[in-house]
């Protein structure tokens, strides 16, 4: 059993333009690995659970830094750190949901280095997968977690197609709630994908968590003005309050007029491989008062279709309770 902890020998590129980075990424394809903050990367490499040959360090690319106002909202460079998200006045002022989510990631030092792109593009959490077991997600033919005796307390409730791992991202659900757009560059052209479509589940691509293909780089995240200064609710429940991944998290954005919910986006984290949009809840609360009564009426909808495993039943009441809180607007 691997108990390595030294970085394996590999090449390192430090391009300074997106085009160069994409070129190198294309050249090495699956043998290359894009690094932003590297906080998820180095563990994979030290464990020898992933074996790329070269690292492509994106941090030298100035154009991927900074938070800018645009005609319709803001654009966050992919290299913006999670700490910057918690301190930048545009974010804390208008999109405090994202600031709160970023502020609950891992630990201060990891937030100081970890980037928004890395946080959304990070791989799923499943201890079997991360130990280098030969599971579906690693290209194998089976799942160790969803078996009659699997240890799957942290795993998925919904939409598990063979793989039952969950997204570990705290900011991913917040970005889906904010209807963010992900800007993807392949070196010559750019495509823009909604945050909701950026994440892919195992039913579609069991070995990837996002639509990014080899040679493509997530360069920026755009957040439309639509949800600026909306009413937000974020909560992450984890075993420990530092260095821990969500057992369940909730990100909600609402437009409320005279106490009535006009429009809302509710997204749960850590219940499936991607951020889970709770559209049934959104529909059910439209036009209703934002209060305890509404919350009690709709919360149970959140767990319809849940398929609990051996040890994760608790995520059902937890999700229901967090939805209840998000709808009523307080803990």
């Amino acid at each position: 059993m691997s108990s390595h902890d030294v970085m394996p020998d590999m090449g390192l590129y430090q391009p300074v333009t997106v085009e160069d980075a994409a070129g190198i990424a294309r050249q090495f394809s699956t043998r290359g690995w894009l690094v932003g903050g590297g906080q998820d990367t180095y563990g994979w490499l030290k464990d020898r659970a992933k074996r790329p040959e070269v690292l492509i360090d994106l941090k030298g690319i100035e154009s991927m830094r900074g938070i800018r106002e645009t005609a319709d909202g803001i654009e966050i460079g992919a290299l913006v750190t999670l700490t910057e998200l918690t301190t930048n006045s545009l974010i804390t002022g208008r999109y405090s949901l994202l600031a709160e989510a970023a502020g609950r990631v891992a630990s201060p030092q990891i937030r100081n280095v970890g980037t928004i792109a890395g946080n959304v593009a990070q791989d799923v959490r499943c201890w079997y997968y991360r130990r280098g077991l030969n599971c579906y997600r690693a290209g194998g033919n089976l799942c160790y977690a969803d078996t009659p005796e699997g240890m799957n307390r942290e795993h998925a409730l919904f939409n598990a197609s063979r793989c039952v791992a969950v997204t570990a991202s705290d900011t991913g659900p917040a970005l889906v709630a904010l209807e963010a757009q992900m800007v993807i560059h392949n070196g010559s052209s750019e495509r823009v994908v909604s945050a909701e479509n950026f994440f892919v589940g195992p039913n579609i691509d069991i070995t990837h968590t996002t639509v990014l293909r080899p040679g493509e780089i997530l360069t920026a995240v755009r957040i439309p003005a639509k949800w600026a200064n909306a009413e937000f609710y974020f909560e992450k429940v984890a075993d420990r309050n530092v260095w821990d991944f969500a057992l369940v998290s909730i990100s909600a954005a609402m437009r409320v007029n005279n106490g009535v919910i006009e429009e809302s986006r509710l997204v749960a984290g850590a219940v499936e491989a991607t951020p889970r949009r709770l559209d049934r809840i959104e529909q059910a609360i439209r036009g209703k008062a934002r209060n305890q009564q509404t919350a009690d009426e709709v919360a149970a909808l959140a767990i319809q279709g849940a398929r609990p495993l051996n040890f994760n039943h608790f995520k059902m009441p937890l999700l229901e309770n967090l939805v209840n809180r998000a709808v009523r607007g307080h803990a």
């Binding site: 969803d146 078996t147 009659p148 892919v200």
Partner: protein, 250 residues
């Protein structure tokens, strides 16, 4: 290029994952080249024969129920191939449910066909005997209801389809379905062998499907395809291609 995908697991054991999908491209390219060569050969070198008329009396070749079977099977095989290779070629669709549903459809129609062929159809018409092997080499010998090529295609397809179904069912038992939860895998190596067989059979199926479709649309054979839609061929077509002593239609 590797033939079989292996991976060393955390226990240090080399485990078969399945067939190498590089072979998919080999199969595709090989089939394409061979068929293109055949097309060119036919277009340039082969003796041009007059096409028999499709007018005139109609001979019933396929019952409606058999035609339905054929097309359901064709559809499910195409869907299975498409959904099966989608994740391999990087097509992002939610393929697995469609795949196993199509697989179940295929399984049921194949079972239906086997039963029907054995008890209600002229099973012998499809049997491939030693005499059939002279047929391709002697222009004077004409086949009965089914030509040597047709019989060959049928039996190749039979073997391949049964192989994908049999291995597919085993793999099916290892995923969650509305009827059961997947079991713990006792032996990853055995499972890998089933994936290998399923993949290999699939590659064969893809190749033969390509050949089948190619011949089905060739001008000199397209009347067979028509017969698979409408059920009949013309008397002229029959006489040109079949020995009426061997095939006595109703």
């Amino acid at each position: 290029m590797e033939i079989i995908r292996y991976r060393r697991d955390v226990w240090g054991e080399e485990v078969i994952l399945g067939v190498s999908w590089d072979l998919l491209w080999v199969v595709a390219v090989t089939a394409l080249i061979l068929l293109a060569a055949h097309a060119i050969f036919m277009a340039v070198l082969a003796k041009k024969k007059a096409k028999p008329s499709s007018e005139g009396p109609r001979i019933k070749r396929h019952d409606a129920i058999d035609r339905a079977f054929h097309w359901i099977m064709a559809g499910s095989v195409l869907v299975l191939i498409l959904t099966g290779i989608a994740p391999i070629v990087g097509l992002r669709i939610s393929w697995l449910n469609i795949h196993w549903i199509a697989g179940l459809v295929l399984t049921f129609v194949v079972i239906f066909h086997i039963i029907r062929a054995i008890f209600w159809q002229d099973f012998k018409a499809m049997l491939l005997g030693p005499s059939d092997f002279k047929e391709p080499f002697d222009e004077k010998i004409k086949p009965g209801k089914y030509s040597f090529e047709q019989k060959g295609m049928h039996w190749a397809m039979t073997v391949l389809v049964i192989a994908v179904i049999a291995t597919g069912i085993i793999l099916f038992l290892h995923i969650n379905t509305p009827w059961w939860n997947r079991p713990a895998v006792e032996n990853e190596a055995t499972l890998g062998i089933f994936f290998l067989l399923h993949g290999t059979a699939t590659l064969g199926l893809i190749a033969f499907t390509a050949i089948h479709i190619y011949f089905a649309v060739r001008p000199e054979k397209i009347f067979y395809t028509r017969s698979m839609v409408t059920g009949w061929i013309s008397e002229a077509e029959m006489k040109e291609n079949h020995d009426t002593n061997k095939w006595k239609p109703e």
